[in-house]
């Protein structure tokens, strides 16, 4: 059985968790690994229906997701889990439970997240239409020792994904991660000749 892990993306709403998780999952699948993607939209529908957004309910939601992730991971399936998961204690609890756990802190200033507002939730929270919204009227506890920190207001998705993939290789969960390459020497010569021919230099 291959050694898999759960890659846990935590961060504010609209910080870019799903974007990076989707790319990482796609790359892993293309490399031939088994992958399952878990995120709030799916689990709140099937796994945690009825749970709300109080601290207790949020913790219970994450605990259930953690349980599913553990089952998959120990059976050789990579799990990408993209959840706000604002509380440190429950994240640490599922880390212990799962074992092969790579925590990715998707860091982004709340002002930038508000600007993105992928699902229009910040707008509602700022108007007071929804309560207990992380970043507005509910706290977010930053991870103290995440395996990876990505800063999505500064990095391109490609760079953030590269950080996660490098860490997976470093920890031995995947065989290797080769950075994308630019021109080979031969290709660069072809392009140089073309540019010269075009008069650029």
């Amino acid at each position: 059985m291959d050694k898999a892990c759960t890659i846990w993306f935590t961060g504010l709403p609209s910080s870019g968790k799903s974007t990076i998780a989707n790319r990482v999952a796609e790359i892993l699948k293309n490399k031939g690994y088994k992958v399952e993607q878990l995120d709030g939209d799916v689990t709140r529908k099937y796994l945690s229906k009825g749970l709300g957004f109080t601290k207790e309910d949020r913790d219970e939601n994450i605990r259930r997701v953690g349980f599913v992730a553990k089952l998959l991971t120990r059976n050789g399936v990579f799990v990408t889990a993209a959840f706000v998961s604002p509380y440190r204690e429950i994240r640490d609890e599922i880390r212990k439970e799962i074992g092969n756990f790579v925590e990715v802190y998707v860091k982004c200033p709340v002002e930038v997240c508000i600007e993105r507002d992928v699902k229009g939730m910040y707008k509602k929270a700022l108007k007071g239409e929804i309560k207990n919204f992380t970043g507005i009227d509910d706290p977010y506890e930053e991870p103290l020792n995440p395996e990876v920190i990505v800063e999505t207001d500064k990095e391109t998705v490609e760079e953030s994904v590269g950080k996660v993939m490098r860490k997976l290789a470093e920890l031995g969960y995947i065989d290797e991660w080769s950075e994308p390459e630019g021109y080979s020497e031969e290709e660069e010569e072809i392009v140089k000749k073309r540019l010269e021919n075009l008069g650029y230099y």
Partner: protein
Amino acid sequence: MKKLFVIGLDCAEPSLVYERWNDDLPNLRRLMEEGGYGRMRSTIPPITVPAWATMVSGKDPGELGFYGFRNRKDYTYDKLFVVNSLNFKAKAIWDYLEERNMKSIALGVPPSYPPKRINGIMISGFLTPSAKSEYAYPAYIKRELEEKFGEYIFDVRNFRIDDKENLLKQLYEMSEQRFEIVKWLMKEKNWDFFMFVDMGIDRLHHGFWKFFDPQHPKYIPGNPLENSGLEYYKFIDRKIGELLANLSDNTSIIVVSDHGAKRMEGGICINEWLIREGYLKLKCKPQGIVRLEECEIDWKNTMAWASGGYYARVFLNVKGREPEGVISPGDYEKIRDELKEKIESITDDKGNKIETRVYKPEEVYREINNIPPDLIVLFGDLYWRSVGSIGFNSIWTHENDTGPDDANHAQHGIFIYRGELDLKGDLGEIKIEDIKDIMLKHF
């Protein structure tokens, strides 16, 4: 859902589109009348790769860390790299949109080889080594395109030829294929943002300008190619009309170029000039016209050397920086100022003043990354190009060292907008750095 469609016409020139040929370009004219248009101020230098990258990222060449197609790898004399997509590390419009779960299609927007993984489709541009290269993301798009359109034409195959009819034929073939591919992608694939760049107009200007500009020194009235420029612009306008017919009403449209074009009066042989002024010393006398790289340079007695192209890059040989540097760091600014002043006072071959502008990178960029040239020179308000080769026995030439070329780049390109933003009528000057935010405002 709102959409934005961006038509990139490399090198499209405002004086032709807005004035001289405006009546003959009904589709562009309609967009101008129904929306707004302005003179798009390009990067310094107004060169394809940094310009498009600045447009889609909002970062200037200094922030991006590349200043032209070729850039110094280090402070040695000969190590240069050609910019590829991996050197483009800033966030582009499609990265911002991906954060908002929106899909983009980017086709031919330099620098885009190798194609980046984006939320959507990326097809690399004219810096793709060949049609055999992996030029599309996702990779299967390449197969789909080849099945439908045959081998992808990234650029004209043989630009520096005197057989102009042949060159013109290649131009039409390339743009025809590009627009047909765009038409297919825009109908068949999902997108919120679509941007493509066609290189045809740029190649037309460099290859044909003298045939249609009565002010060009080599213009011959009544020449058989006199209408080549107008006809090609009309063809592009028709193709744009076909695309517009396929766009929904909720789609905003931008038509933009990365820089403009103007007639080329001639070339200033910058290295010849540096030799004459005592800044550059060779170990031997060149036999005929040769590239500087082919000559042995006496570095211990050389203070500066330069590169040619549509603009000049001047490099100083600084002690402790270059391997055989001679200018002590304390004299660096003094020598740079001296060179700037002297270069700005170079006249044309008849002794007339020309508006040469010499820029220090730190004065034009918000930040400096990687290694910029020490001076960036735009000769004669860009009516003159920079010739890097030596052996002309003059500092002026009317023959280009790299083959026939009729036009140089101009600082301003076009920007036409029709859509939901309040951009109407004559918009005056639009800065290239601001276009990314204009695009982003739609989402």
